[in-house]
Symmetry: C2
Subunit: 205 residues, 2 copies
Amino acid sequence: MSLSSSLLENAVDQLATLPGIGRRTAMRLALELLRREVHEVVRFAEAIRALRENVRYCERCCNISDKPVCEICSNPARDSGLICVVEDIRDVIAIENTRQFKGLYHVLGGVISPMDGIGPDDLHTHELMERIAQGGVREVVLALGGTLEGDTTGFYLNRKLNEQAVLVTTIARGISVGAELDQADEITLGRSIADRKPFEHSIKR
Amino acid sequence: MSLSSSLLENAVDQLATLPGIGRRTAMRLALELLRREVHEVVRFAEAIRALRENVRYCERCCNISDKPVCEICSNPARDSGLICVVEDIRDVIAIENTRQFKGLYHVLGGVISPMDGIGPDDLHTHELMERIAQGGVREVVLALGGTLEGDTTGFYLNRKLNEQAVLVTTIARGISVGAELDQADEITLGRSIADRKPFEHSIKR
């Protein structure tokens, strides 16, 4: 696709670098932006530029935060002895929405992915080890995605954390609540059988 | 979804204004941009800002162009008596790729859409009428999408163009080449029967 305008070509090239956006969609987005008022598009571009240039992270949990210490970390009602390790801010939002977790978080900023050249040093693993070394943490919950990269990251962190006096747990994997067994994939179903637990309120023998 | 950072919130809000991008996808894009180098994101934002601030249009056909008169309009080998009216630059690229059209274009920059508050005056219709009024154009081909908005725009332009001494034609609608009849929608199939034409090389009676 050769265009009559290098400005358009440049904008389409840049938009097409975003994940899930091909050149055809990028062109549609560029034409949509062209239909807007100049000040609207300037505000759009500035919001993206400001995000990257001025982003700040919580100095304790490494989550994106406007304040030096985020609201979760600075909340005295939360259990500071329990740390949940997640990939990014989306996982924090998802877990917060469950209202089931009263501890603190540690945001890795990604997962180990040799394919993408992302190793442990590219993530906030060092900060996690420092937090544990400072003491006061009794349990670290690994809440990582059920992907190969999530598993790799979990194995790595478990090995590192086992060097310290801290209990390492991981979130349960199994059949989704409300799901049919014959719809589940074999690996998940197999795991949910291997990880079976006593039925609630049943008589313990 | 309330976020711990107004910078992130702002960028997600802006990305979510793009067509086809919801807040979940916008968040994914914002986190992807955060993983990049600062200079890469600045280049990304600048490309979008520059597109809207510095965009220029061909003064004859209204297509996006770096030069005052685009390469198609300034090509003496093309038939200046034949003008193909299209919605936007994507249609120009699509028609150019067919290598079937040797005339010039007129880019409307959109279609009439009362639902979105877009009327004839928001498009480059006035420029089209001026081009015809200058003389030398014998045929205008309306190559608009087969949507309600495309049809409305076609009806409007046909009425306006009929006031001038110019032949108005429209691209053929029918069954796609290589398509099965039972896969086509009823309106298209009905139209292709109503618009039937003599079989090529058949004896004319």
